[in-house]
């Protein structure tokens, strides 16, 4: 067992993938000698040479389009988008080609490629460096969308993503890059990809979270426990494929559910989760499924981001509205009256 930061775990995953499979290539902006702006590709060019890990010209559609062609030609590119908002130039390539090539060609071509995207906020970044863009990708049929919350998951999910026969958008929560954790020994972990995990068991309500929101949900559960409320925390790990089974089993057990996401709430992944939970767990629910999310605003300037980001208090306030007494949801009623 080794302790690593998430960035180091991702680096180890790329390194091991490059070592094990010569078809794997890493490219993007500043990923070569610099090692990427978050150092996720640190040392890879040195170890594997410029052929296997290289800097591209500055053009994101070009990076993704090049990866499409190289994957068609038998390689397994794992490319880096420097930041969430700077992946947008590549969106046409992602939505029209990466997501669709297998389907368009009736399975005759496939695209085993990974697009790594550092995403979300909480690091005091200036505008265009903090977008939560996961819903765009999750909404696009044909893409798998993955987001780790621990270094161990970061390592294994990235290994799984690179080995996957389909394209994977691998969303890395920036603020967790420096979080530390233990990595399990090198023998391949069974499962994980496509499977949510119960991070903390509880009785009274389920918090469903993913990526950057998982540690916040865990802190909220810790704090609630001190008040005698037992919260279960489910970490999705992969948004697509979505693990209905684990989420549903948890909510049927606890009877209450709060979905937590950092992204703006409207039409987000959390809305999808809330809908799925109430469709499947209606008879087990003692209260409506509630959501905790960022506000529906462009990502705020750094000094104000604390006001936007869902924190422990926002989660606990929402848990309080889960009708543990027999009173209805007063907050909603109050809004309707005023």
């Amino acid at each position: 067992m080794t302790t690593m930061t998430m960035a180091q775990a991702l680096n180890a995953a790329l390194r091991d993938a490059l070592r094990e499979d010569e078809r794997v290539l890493v490219f993007g902006e500043d990923v070569g000698p610099l090692g990427g702006v978050f150092r996720v590709t640190d040392g890879l060019t040195k170890e594997f040479g410029e052929d296997r890990c290289f800097d591209t010209p500055l053009a994101e559609a070009g990076i993704v389009g090049l990866a499409v062609g190289m994957a068609m030609g038998g390689f397994r590119p794992a490319v880096e988008m420097q930041f969430d908002a700077f992946a947008y130039p590549a969106f046409e390539q992602i939505a029209s080609h990466v997501a669709k090539l297998r389907n368009r060609t009736r399975g005759r071509l496939s695209l085993p490629m990974v697009i790594r995207i550092p995403y979300a906020g909480g690091i005091g970044g200036v505008e265009h460096h903090c977008d939560s863009s996961e819903a765009y990708y999750a909404h696009t049929p044909g893409l798998k969308v993955v987001t780790p919350a621990t270094p161990d998951d970061a390592y294994w999910l990235l290994r799984d993503a690179i080995a996957d026969p389909d394209p994977v958008v691998f969303m890395e929560p920036k603020r967790l890059y420096w979080s530390k954790g233990e990595i399990t020994p090198a023998d391949r972990r069974a499962g994980g990809f496509g499977q949510a995990v119960v991070r903390r068991a509880g009785r009274d309500a389920t918090l469903v979270a993913y990526g950057p929101s998982v540690p916040v949900a865990l802190q909220a559960a810790e704090s609630a426990a001190q008040d005698g409320i037992s919260l279960e925390v489910v970490d999705l790990r992969t948004i697509v494929p979505f693990d209905d089974e684990t989420v549903v089993a948890s909510v049927r057990k606890t009877g209450r559910c709060v979905v937590v996401q950092e992204a703006q709430g409207f039409a987000g992944v959390g809305a999808e989760i809330a809908a799925r939970v109430q469709e499947r767990c209606f008879h087990s629910l003692a209260a409506p499924v509630l959501r905790v999310a960022g506000f529906d605003i462009p990502y705020p300037p750094p000094i104000l981001e604390h006001a936007h980001l869902p924190d422990v208090d926002r989660i606990l306030d929402t848990v309080d509205r889960l009708q543990f007494g027999d009173e209805p949801d007063l907050l909603h009623l109050a809004r309707e009256v005023s």
Binding site: D51, T56, M72, N103, T105, G107, L109, D244
Partner: protein
């Protein structure tokens, strides 16, 4: 520090000031252009037969739209010299990245015409096997295929294969960002790829003058360090010669090349378009007299390579081909609604399995 660009380096990247030409519009030979060998006579005869076939195919496809057998068809009538030369310049193991307008090129490569038309018939998005044919799916998002072509070229190079990739693109498509990213990537990677612009003067209704202020599209190469050439796109001999040279160069490690062919889209953008809204009949008529097929025929006859018999044989082969195509297209394509779920991922997700079952229930429910 002083910066100086060598005149020689610049000149080496520029296209000829006038499009390369072997045949005048009246079908007579012009003095041979420097640096471009004339293709072998046998290859020109083969090109002629393929042009006859391609034109007949194109006419049949347009007819099929009227019979409701094709959802839409973008004709390439008038562009046959480009379509056929592009294919003849490539080996079978080279890759071709076509657009929606390049059906004639694909059938000319020997692909099953029904498979080529599957996209436009609406049976599936791509009817052929790209891996087996080494032809990427016909691409509609403009210019996006040019970047894939660079990736494929880079893949071939890395695998030690001496294959070349040719990316087809229209004049309008050269305004898209992806085209510029593709040129730049190709140059930086020194990838064995040929960009082939069929400048047919229109992007749907928008004329070339609104598309660019460049002296010619071929000049877009120099900014990226890519050598380029412009060619008379209605002169089969010229297009074939220039493309063959570009492919030879790429294959022997010379890097990417850009070719602009000046041609003309004789028909509307597609059967659904009304070209009289944006161009004059006189303009179209002027281009009729530059017809690439008539031009090649006159040229070959003039050189004693083609006689009435050979012309008749080419036409009757084309008629047979068209009749077979019509019959095959008259049968309804076989489709399976459940296939909609089969290729989204290698393994369908649990959600896709549920939705498949839902569709099955809908399709088997008794009608009320």
């Amino acid at each position: 520090m002083s910066v100086r660009t060598s005149r020689q380096a610049v000149d080496g990247l520029l296209p000829s000031p006038e499009p390369v030409r072997f045949i005048a519009e009246d079908g007579t030979a012009v003095p041979a252009p420097a640096g471009y060998p004339a293709p072998a006579d046998e290859q020109l005869l083969e090109a002629y037969r393929r042009m006859v076939l391609g034109r007949r195919f194109d006419r049949q496809a347009t007819a099929l739209t009227k019979q409701g057998r094709l959802a839409v068809y973008p004709s390439s009538r008038g562009q046959e010299a480009c379509q056929i030369a592009g294919v003849l310049a490539l080996r079978e193991d080279d890759w071709l990245f076509p657009t929606y307008r390049d059906c004639v090129a694909l059938v000319s490569r020997g692909m099953d015409p029904v498979e080529v038309l599957t996209l436009l018939r609406g049976g599936w998005h791509c009817g052929y096997d790209p891996a087996a044919t080494r032809v990427a799916p016909q691409c509609t998002p403009l210019a996006t295929q040019t970047v894939h072509a660079v990736g494929m070229a880079e893949a071939l190079r890395r695998k030690g294969e001496d294959g070349v990739v040719m990316a087809f693109i229209g004049d309008g498509g050269t305004s898209e960002g992806d085209f510029h990213e593709a040129l730049n990537y190709a140059a930086v990677l020194h990838a064995p790829v040929v960009f082939f612009v069929q400048n047919n003067k229109y992007a749907i209704s928008v004329p070339l003058a609104r598309q660019t202020a460049a002296p010619a599209l071929a000049y877009k190469g120099i900014g990226y360090g890519i050598p380029s050439e412009q060619v008379d796109g209605n002169d089969l001999v010229a297009v074939l010669s220039v493309l063959t040279e570009a492919v030879r160069r790429a294959r022997s490690g010379g890097g990417p090349f850009l070719v602009e062919a000046h041609t003309y889209r004789m028909d509307a953008h597609t059967n659904a378009d009304d070209a009289t809204r944006y161009r004059e009949t006189e303009e179209v008529e002027r281009w009729e007299s530059a017809d690439p097929l008539a031009r090649l025929e006159t040229y070959l006859r003039g050189r004693g390579l083609l006689d009435d018999e050979a012309v008749a044989a080419a036409h009757s082969a084309a008629e047979e081909y068209a009749a077979r195509l019509r019959d095959e297209m008259n049968a309804d394509p076989e489709t399976d609604p459940f296939e909609l779920f089969d290729h989204v991922f290698a393994e369908p997700t649990p959600q896709l399995r549920e939705q498949r079952a839902l569709l099955a229930a809908e399709l088997t429910a008794p009608e009320d």
